[in-house]
Symmetry: C2
Subunit: 257 residues, 2 copies
């Protein structure tokens, strides 16, 4: 994992003048550019890339950025807020496929058939940069670094999902939750937050759906971790007390033989 210098994720005042209206913030000025944009661009390329974002969109907590079946036009870079993505089977079962935070790109599922195949729902008030896919395609023909960046983002998502498959396919409840907590903490840390203290933006049920567990099992496992002194849990506030112990749980083979 690449270490990213601590950044303040709160939008700067420059972007939000007192009247509350959003003004345009160029990618080249954005404090998240290291997360969602390629590095090492020339000034001309920078300027070009600023045109990739046609506008911003604010999403209220609980609202959907896109839904399964909707036409696909754009990828979205999360500027602030927190999203879950979930797929739904015919029988209404649904499965959370990921949690996404500032600097991450969502909407990649829509490319293959020009329709979104999952829902993206804001877990807190959020704002995204809207990047029409035809522009991304056009610009990445001209800017090699951008082309490679797009490929890397998609590849990263594939690799991330491999990790989730490993988790769902072969880990037990404690390992799943430990892996989940460590992953979340690490991503928040990379964004300048505390490495050990986090506020969950999702319910136990959503965590359970992501991890292939019921909400009760998630709750019980949290309680067990707390009993064992590895974490402190008060509702959605979690403080990791023993990072190493959690790491050991994830890496220990289920050695019941």
């Amino acid at each position: 994992m690449k270490e990213i210098p601590a950044v303040n994720l709160m939008p700067s005042n420059a972007a939000y003048p007192l009247d509350g209206h959003t003004i345009r913030v160029a990618c080249s000025n954005c404090n998240l550019r290291e997360l969602c944009m390629p590095l090492g661009l020339s000034p001309e390329e920078q300027a070009r890339i600023d045109d990739m974002v046609v506008n911003r969109r604010k999403i209220k907590r609980g609202a959907a950025l896109f839904r399964n079946g909707e036409a696909f036009h754009s990828l979205f870079a999360i500027r602030t807020g927190f999203f879950k993505t979930c797929v739904t089977a015919e029988d209404k079962r649904d499965q959370v496929t990921g949690f996404h935070m500032a600097g991450e790109i969502i909407g990649l599922d829509g490319i293959v058939n020009d329709r979104h195949t999952c829902d993206a729902v804001a877990l807190e008030d959020a704002e995204v940069c809207v990047m029409p896919f035809h522009r991304i395609s056009e610009f990445s023909r001209e800017i090699n670094a951008l082309q490679h960046h797009v490929h890397r983002i998609m590849s990263r998502e594939i690799v991330r999902e491999h990790g989730v498959m490993l988790l769902l396919g072969s880990m037990r409840a404690e390992e799943r939750l430990a892996a989940f907590l460590l992953n979340l903490a690490q991503r928040l840390h990379a964004r300048g937050f505390s490495p050990s203290e986090l506020v969950l933006r999702m319910t136990r049920e959503e965590i359970g759906s992501y991890l292939g567990l019921t909400l009760e099992t998630v709750s019980r496992t949290f309680s067990k971790f707390a009993e064992d002194g590895m974490v402190e849990v008060r509702q959605r506030h979690v403080r990791i007390l023993d990072m190493d112990a959690l790491t050991r749980i994830v890496n220990q083979q289920a050695c019941n033989y």
Copy 2:
């Protein structure tokens, strides 16, 4: 799912002269081109695309096409044969992340960090077309259809993995195996094979790893399907007798409440 006309997957004699040496077969002549290449190219573009494949590589059953940690240079289009891909955790647990057949592209996981992050192992003698990634990148800057094609392939993989996550996260053993069989049969059918009769190229253990089950559970579930008259199983030969029943199993909510 797009229906693809039945094709004969056996390499044509033109490609394999009597002396056994492989001669170059252009993508534009390949009977798999509808699966791995974009459609509707101009003749010049076709010719250009033929240069994307620098060579072929034969892989013996049980051998690896690439392994976790190896440098990434190329994507591979499967020409003949059958592969599994699997990721391995630190503790040696491993998880099959996919089974791949003729016409499919593997190696996408390597793009993000210029290293492969999983193993690709041939489950039967196989042959792949080697496509250096720098060429793919170069050509897709010039040929829009190819650029879009690459994006679609990666997006398709992301969507496929969403489906696997749904399966692993919320289905029970019978549903998993039914979904697996139907998926396999459908993909084989799209390649001109029987829609209901298939030969598994993988062991029960590999199926189990993919589905997040033990080999015993896979075996038992096969037996149960056979008892119920839905399939006929003799070792790796499977004949689907009641496609609808299997479909119903997949789509039926686990309605135990």
